[in-house]
C-alpha cells in the first residue's frame, strides 16, 4: 500500500520496542510523495518522535524498512543525512553561540566552505526575520526566535526533505502562526515535509495528507477532507437539559443516518452525508419523544471530531473480533472500511 514509486519518504512496517517492553511503534507504514506534506497527528506518546528518529537515522528500527530520497535508512544512514534536515522537539541550538555562529557551525558540519557557510547563514537569518538578532547569543532569544533559528539550522544545506517534530509545541499563538507562515513558504518552494503535531489545526493547515497515529500505529490515513468525509459530511449536535433526556435522544436518533449516533454527556452527535436536510427529521423525532433540546448545531466536522472518533470515542465502540486483540497488535488489519479502522483503534485503547 505504501511503496509508491518516487516517494521521498517511505516507511513499511516499522517496529520499535524500548527497554521495559515499551512498544513505541507497532508496525507503522507511511509514504510521503515528493513535494508534499505529510502530517503525523497524534497525542503524546503515540510514537511520532520515534518514527521521525528512525527516518532521520537517530535510531534503528527493530523491524521494518524505511527509505528517504531512495536511500535505505538502515543500510546507508550517512547518505541519508545528506538529504535531510531535522528540527526536533527541543530547539537544538547552542545557547552560548550567536544565531549566526550556530548556523555557520551547522554549515561547516555540512561541509560547506567557510565563505559559503557564512553566506548561507546570513541568508537564513534574513529569511526567518532574525537578522537583527544574528549577533546576539541564542540564550537571549525568545522561544519563537529559537524555533526559527532551529528551523534555519535544519535548512542550512538546502535539504530536499525536511522533518519537523512538533515544531510549534510550547509556542504562544502568535509565534505559532509566524512559524506556520515560514513553513508554508518552504513547502511552496517544493520541499518535501514530514511534520508531527498534536495540534489538529496545525495538521489541517499545513499537511496535504494526514496519518493519525495512536499507540504506535497508524489508525487512519488520508487528506483532511477524506478523514472528515469518513465520518459523514456533516455533524448535527443536539444539546439536552440532562443525561436522561440525552439517553432518550440517543435512542430515538439511533437509526436516523448511515452512521451511529454518539453521546457525550448531555450532547448527542449524529453524523450524516445528508447535510442540514436531516435537521427537520431530528427535530420531529425529538418532539415525538417529548424531548426538548437546549441547543442544536449543524457544522462541518473538524479534525477534532475525527480524532475523537478514532481514538477517544473508539474505546466505547464495538470491541474488535475475538482473538484479534493482543497478539496481533501491530500487524494492523487495514481496510478502507471506517468501522474496521475504529475497531483497530479500540484495540489500541484497550491496553
Amino acid at each position: 500500500m505504501n511503496s509508491s514509486a518516487g516517494a521521498a519518504v517511505v516507511a513499511d512496517g516499522l517496529v520499535k520496542t524500548f527497554k521495559g517492553d515499551v512498544r513505541a511503534l507497532q508496525g507503522v507504514s507511511l509514504s510521503v510523495p515528493r513535494g508534499s506534506v505529510l502530517g503525523l497527528l497524534g497525542p503524546n506518546g503515540a510514537g511520532k518522535t520515534t518514527c521521525v528518529s528512525i527516518l532521520t537515522t537517530l535510531m534503528r528500527a527493530d523491524e521494518g524498512y524505511a527509505e528517504v530520497d531512495g536511500v535505505d535508512v538502515a543500510r546507508n544512514p550517512e547518505e541519508v543525512r545528506r538529504h535531510i534536515g531535522l528540527a526536533g522537539q527541543f530547539a537544538a541550538v547552542d545557547e552560548n553561540l550567536t544565531g549566526r555562529e550556530n548556523l555557520i557551525l551547522v554549515g561547516r558540519l555540512n561541509h560547506l566552505a567557510r565563505a559559503e557557510a557564512t553566506r548561507r547563514a546570513d541568508e537564513l537569518l534574513e529569511q526567518f526575520g532574525i537578522a537583527d538578532a544574528g549577533d546576539r547569543r541564542a540564550k537571549t532569544y525568545s522561544g519563537g526566535m529559537r524555533r526559527r533559528l532551529d528551523l534555519g539550522a535544519a535548512l542550512v544545506a538546502g535539504p530536499p526533505i525536511l522533518f519537523l517534530d512538533e515544531p510549534t509545541t510550547g509556542l504562544d499563538p502568535r509565534s505559532r502562526v509566524e512559524l506556520w507562515r515560514v513553513i508554508e513558504r518552504l513547502v511552496a518552494d517544493g520541499t518535501t515535509l514530514l511534520l508531527t503535531t498534536q495540534y489538529l489545526e496545525e495538521a489541517d493547515r499545513l499537511a496535504d495528507r494526514i496519518s493519525v497515529v495512536d499507540h504506535g500505529k497508524v489508525i487512519a490515513e488520508g487528506t483532511s477532507a477524506e478523514l472528515k468525509a469518513r465520518l459523514g459530511a456533516t455533524v448535527v449536535e443536539v444539546r439536552l437539559a440532562d443525561a436522561s433526556a440525552a439517553e432518550t435522544a440517543e435512542r430515538v436518533l439511533a437509526g436516523i443516518s448511515e452512521h451511529a449516533a454518539s453521546r457525550d454527556g448531555r450532547i448527542v452527535r449524529v453524523t450524516t452525508a445528508a447535510g442540514a436536510a436531516l435537521v427537520p427529521e431530528v427535530v420531529r423525532r425529538l418532539d415525538a419523544a417529548g424531548v426538548t433540546p437546549t441547543g442544536l448545531e449543524v457544522r462541518e466536522p473538524s479534525l477534532d471530531d475525527v480524532f475523537m472518533e478514532l481514538t477517544g470515542h473508539a474505546a466505547e465502540a464495538e470491541p474488535a473480533e475475538p482473538g484479534a486483540a493482543g497478539r496481533d497488535r501491530g500487524r494492523g488489519r487495514r481496510t478502507d472500511d471506517p468501522d474496521a479502522e475504529l475497531a483497530t483503534a479500540a484495540e489500541g485503547r484497550d491496553r
Binding site: 513535494g35 561547516r108 557557510a117 548561507r120 544545506a157
Partner: protein, 288 residues
C-alpha cells in the same frame, strides 16, 4: 538526489558541499566542533577563573599552612614539591568538564542535531577533548605562574615543558573516562556527583601533596604506584632534576625520571585505549 527540489527562498542559491576525502572531513569536523567548544570557554572566562580558585586556594593553604610542617623533602622547597601535585589534580578535575559538557549537550538535544548531520561521528568526541586540552593548558600555565610567585622553581625549562605535555596527555586520556560517565548518567549534576568520590581519594592517597614514605605500608604500596602518583612523580622528577639516590628512594620509591615518564605514558595510553574505545562505543550505541 538531483531530481528533488531543494529548500530555500526563491532566488536563493543552493549551497554546494565540498567533496573531500573522509579523513579530511573528520579533521575539519573536529576542528569545527573544537572551535565551538573553545568559543564557549572564552565566552565564560569567569568559569575558567572559578575552576582555578580552588587549586590556587589549595596552593596557598598547603604552601603556607602545612608547608612548614612537612619534612622529609630532602632539601627541596615545598612549593616546588607541591605545584606538580596541584597541577595534576587541577588537570584531572578539569578533564571532568568533558563529561559535564557532553551530558549538557545530550540533555539539551544538541547532540541530536549533530547526529542528523552528515558529519564525522568521531568529531563530537575529538572536538570535545581538543577544546578541553586547550582549557587545561591555560589553567596549568596560570597555576604555574602562581606557583612561581610562592617559590616554585624548575631545574630546567625543557623539563617543565615536557612535564606539562605529559600532564596534558594524561588529562586527555582521563577525559575519555569522564566522557563515558557523561554519556552514561542522566544529568549534569550526576556527572559532578560521580567525579568527586573518585578524584579525591586518587589525588590524596598519592604523592601529590606529601611524600608517601610516612604512610602505612599498605597505603604506601598503593600510593606509590597508582597512576596519579606516577604522573605527579614524573612531572616532579623532571622539574627537580638530578637528586641524590637516598632522596630518590624516599620521594620516588627509587625510580628514575625515565622510568617514571615511561610508566606515566603507559598509563595514559592504556586509559586512552580502554576508555576511548568504551566512550566511542557508548556514543555509537546512543546513535546508530
Amino acid at each position: 538526489m538531483s531530481t528533488t527540489a531543494p529548500a530555500g527562498a526563491p532566488g536563493s542559491v543552493i549551497p554546494v558541499r565540498r567533496s573531500q576525502p573522509r579523513l579530511a572531513h573528520a579533521v575539519s569536523d573536529s576542528l569545527a566542533m573544537a572551535g565551538r567548544n573553545i568559543r564557549r570557554i572564552l565566552r565564560a572566562p569567569d568559569q575558567v577563573m572559578f575552576t582555578l580558585i580552588s587549586p590556587i586556594m589549595f596552593t596557598l593553604l598547603f604552601r603556607y599552612v602545612f608547608g612548614g610542617a612537612i619534612s622529609g623533602l630532602n632539601g627541596i622547597g615545598y612549593a616546588t614539591y607541591l605545584i606538580p601535585g596541584i597541577a595534576v589534580q587541577t588537570a584531572i578535575f578539569s578533564a571532568g568538564t568533558t563529561g559535564f559538557a557532553l551530558a549538557d549537550d545530550l540533555q539539551k538535544g544538541f547532540i541530536d542535531r549533530l547526529r542528523s548531520l552528515p558529519m564525522a561521528r568521531s568529531a563530537v568526541l575529538t572536538g570535545r577533548v581538543v577544546a578541553d586540552s586547550m582549557n587545561n593548558l591555560i589553567q596549568v600555565i596560570i597555576l604555574i605562574a602562581v606557583g612561581f610567585a610562592v617559590g616554585f622553581r624548575t631545574h630546567s625549562v625543557p623539563g617543565l615543558v615536557l612535564g606539562i605535555l605529559l600532564l596534558l596527555f594524561f588529562a586527555l586520556s582521563t577525559s575519555f573516562i569522564f566522557a563515558l560517565v557523561g554519556m552514561s548518567v542522566s544529568s549534569v549534576e550526576a556527572v559532578n556527583a560521580a567525579t568527586f568520590p573518585v578524584v579525591f581519594p586518587l589525588t590524596f592517597a598519592s604523592s601529590a601533596f606529601v611524600p608517601t614514605f610516612t604512610m602505612p605500608g599498605w597505603l604506601r604500596a598503593f600510593a606509590d604506584h597508582q597512576p596519579v602518583s606516577v604522573l605527579v612523580n614524573a612531572v616532579r622528577s623532571l622539574v627537580i632534576g638530578p637528586i641524590p639516590k637516598q632522596a630518590r628512594d624516599q620521594l620516588f620509591a627509587g625510580q628514575s625520571t625515565t622510568s617514571l615518564v615511561l610508566q606515566s605514558l603507559g598509563w595514559s595510553v592504556l586509559l586512552m585505549v580502554v576508555f576511548g574505545y568504551l566512550a566511542v562505543r557508548k556514543y555509537r550505541a546512543l546513535t546508530i
